[in-house]
Amino acid sequence: MSDLDQFRTEVRAWLEENCPAEMREPVRGDDDVCWGGRNWQFKNEAQKLWLERCVAKGYTVPDWPKPYGGAGLSAAETKILRQEMARIGARPPLSSFGIWMLGPALLHFGTEEQKVHYLNQIARGEIRWCQGYSEPGSGSDLVSLQTYGEDKGDHWVVNGQKIWTSYADKCDWIFCLVRTDKTNKYQGISFLLFDMETPGVTTKPIKLISGNSPFCETFFDNVVVPKHQIVGELNRGWDVAKYLLGHEREMISGGGLGDGAPSLGAQLKNSIGTNGLGQLDDGILRAELAQFDVDALAFKAMAERFGDEMKAGKGHPAQPNMMKYAGTELNKRRHELVMAGNGSDALEWESEASKGGAKARNWLRTKANSIEGGTSEVMLNVISKRILDLPGA
């Protein structure tokens, strides 16, 4: 048996023994996600147990080095762990912006001290992070951001406003883009970390069209940030920000993979209805679903190729933009089809039968996928410029 086969056998046995049955149920919505953080209330004992066991094993961040809370797995081992988790439908033990976004940036740009401190907190689900990038006047044109940090010797005093800050009202710390030099656009931004409980930080939730309120306006009024809470060099935060965005885009593109079910059309058979041949009784919808299944399976292959190439350092560095574009557009299409396939049942917004309008709310939420983390238009602009090398793009 090769080492990897041996590893697979071990992982399979470990998961079998340690992943509670409740944690093998599909994630039905945000309520089933474990975000961690200072004020985290576990939804049930199983969620707590699953997190604790994975933390002990380093499996919340399997490919991070052991000193930072990971399991130190190789790319091949990480892939096997993910495959084995998918095989039994195991939920991620912990989801967080710390894992997906800040962690990779710290691994690349952080000091040893920062890595040991922040990465371990992230891996253990102790601190929940939010992302302070967008501002009212700076969305797609992020680099025009105005939030200003005034140099006061051993600290900055930060003033300004962020917007669309996901979960800001529930998060413990923020990674935040702050202008530290007003005379230099790109090289005048610093990447700062600070506690959301620092005096002067306030948040105001904004309601989404799905009826939930996961994002906020975030205000900074003379917020004191010690100098050691900077990641990377002074005024070179844009490099950190962009590196992090690559990881964010990769993460969001994962929505394109759906819930792991092999075929959307097959899932919708009962609600749509079938004819005597067992085919969907709406030939046009059937064709649309078949086309979707083709695209979804092809995208899945692309995602695997992308992952393998990235880990091997082979992919084009701008490729996450393509993945984000394709994955989010696919996910939006999936949910349009889920709505069409479930007809008037899926229109219900509050009823028990519809689980409080779960399908409609999820469908509406996916519309943000091609906006958050950079819009589809921005992704296409980046592909035109950085991959196709088009003039003027």
Partner: protein, 378 residues
């Protein structure tokens, strides 16, 4: 008939536009939503519809109506769509009246005065599954004394809980899948063994699940002929489909106008986002699609008013085309607004929700494209 509105129709459009913009703009709908309004519309507004004469558009002059046609009904519906104004106009004054026009004088005498006054509300109990499949009707109507006894389940009965009466499609003969053997009935909301379960939809409109558990009606309740209800149902559906297509054009246009306005206001990269050709072209494409949809809808309405056989296929063309175009408008609308488009506080999301519900109503774009193939025989 020229393919544009004549002078009278244009006048009607102007007054409908002014009326709905003033009395029932999007903020009106938002208010009802925030209040959790159980009817999903204001009865006072419905009365105003009566005062404006809108509710009598499809009622003949002999019966006290205006004796106008589907073009005129559509003119009002497009403005309803643009303002997302909640009302029973489509179900009652368009689809309901079109069915009752096939019924006996006693039914017209019973319902038309209340509809003309903007008081009576009718709801349509047709669908029995998540998808619109009218030929599959299984609700049974068995002979009982000099009337019938109805049993079955209906869903997506828009405003079912606030209606004074339901128009119920049931089977007096034949098997699901057959168009023969269907009969249409008017069932009073207070009938025994009728239960109406009110539920809110994504667009904040109200619809009901209706259970008929041996509801007794007398022979007078039949609209048209027993076993031959497919004809009446077809009239109802054509009116409702052409009407919802017109409303979809309004929804799409409203979303498009908001979006084009936004492209002229929002700045990024030191420019108005409307200066980016990537967005210009999509807005221009959307404009083309909306114009074509509006033409398809007008064609269907004119053919219906002329009583042409080809109205059948064109109603499906209209519903499918308007459905696809409005859906494009709301998707582009949210996307081109960026983050603000995802917020409840901003109106564009309401257009997306209304589009979803209207697309589903009386058959979505796929269903109607399928009908076009069927009618062409392939």
């Amino acid at each position: 008939m020229p393919m544009f509105l004549n002078e009278d129709q244009a006048m009607l459009r102007d007054s409908a536009r002014e009326f709905l913009k003033t009395e029932a703009p999007v903020s009106h709908m938002r208010k009802l939503r925030d209040e959790g309004c159980k009817d999903g519309f204001r009865h006072a507004l419905w009365k105003q519809f009566g005062e404006m004469g809108f509710t009598g558009i499809l009622i003949g002059e002999d019966d006290g109506g205006l004796g106008l046609g589907h073009v005129e009904a559509g003119v009002v519906l497009e403005e309803i769509g643009r303002n997302l104004s909640p009302s029973p106009f489509l179900t009652t004054a368009v689809a309901g009246v079109s069915a009752l026009n096939h019924g006996g004088q006693h039914l017209k005498d019973k319902f038309f005065p209340g509809i003309l006054a903007g008081e009576t509300v009718l709801a349509l109990a047709i669908d029995e599954h998540a998808k619109h499949r009218p030929a599959q009707i299984a609700t049974k109507a068995e002979k009982s004394g000099n009337g019938f006894r109805l049993s079955g389940k209906k869903q997506f009965v828009v405003q079912g809980a606030s209606a004074d009466a339901l128009i119920v499609a049931a089977r007096t003969a034949g098997a699901p899948g057959e168009t023969d053997g269907i009969t249409l009935f008017v069932v009073d909301k207070d009938a025994a063994n009728l239960s109406i379960d009110n539920t809110r939809l994504v667009d904040s409109s109200m619809a009901a699940h209706v259970t008929l558990d041996g509801v007794e009606v007398d022979g007078d309740a039949v609209i048209g002929d027993v076993d031959n209800g497919w004809q009446v149902l077809s009239a109802l559906l054509k009116a409702g489909r052409a009407g919802s297509a017109a409303e979809l054009v309004g929804v799409g246009s409203g979303a498009m106008d908001m979006t084009v306005d936004y492209l002229k206001q929002r700045k990024q990269f030191g420019r108005l986002i409307g200066e980016f050709q990537a967005l210009q072209h999509r807005a221009a494409h959307l404009y083309s699609e909306m114009e074509i949809a509006r033409a398809a809808v007008l064609k269907a309405q004119q053919l219906l008013d002329e009583g042409q056989d080809s109205a059948d296929i064109f109603v499906s063309v209209a519903k499918a085309k308007a459905g696809r175009s409005a859906n494009l408008a709301v998707r582009e609308g949210v996307q081109m607004h960026g983050g603000i488009g995802m917020t409840d506080e901003y109106d564009i999301g309401f257009y997306m929700k209304r589009d979803r519900a209207l697309n589903e109503f009386m058959g979505d774009a796929n269903f109607h494209a399928g009908r076009v193939a069927e009618i062409f025989g392939y």
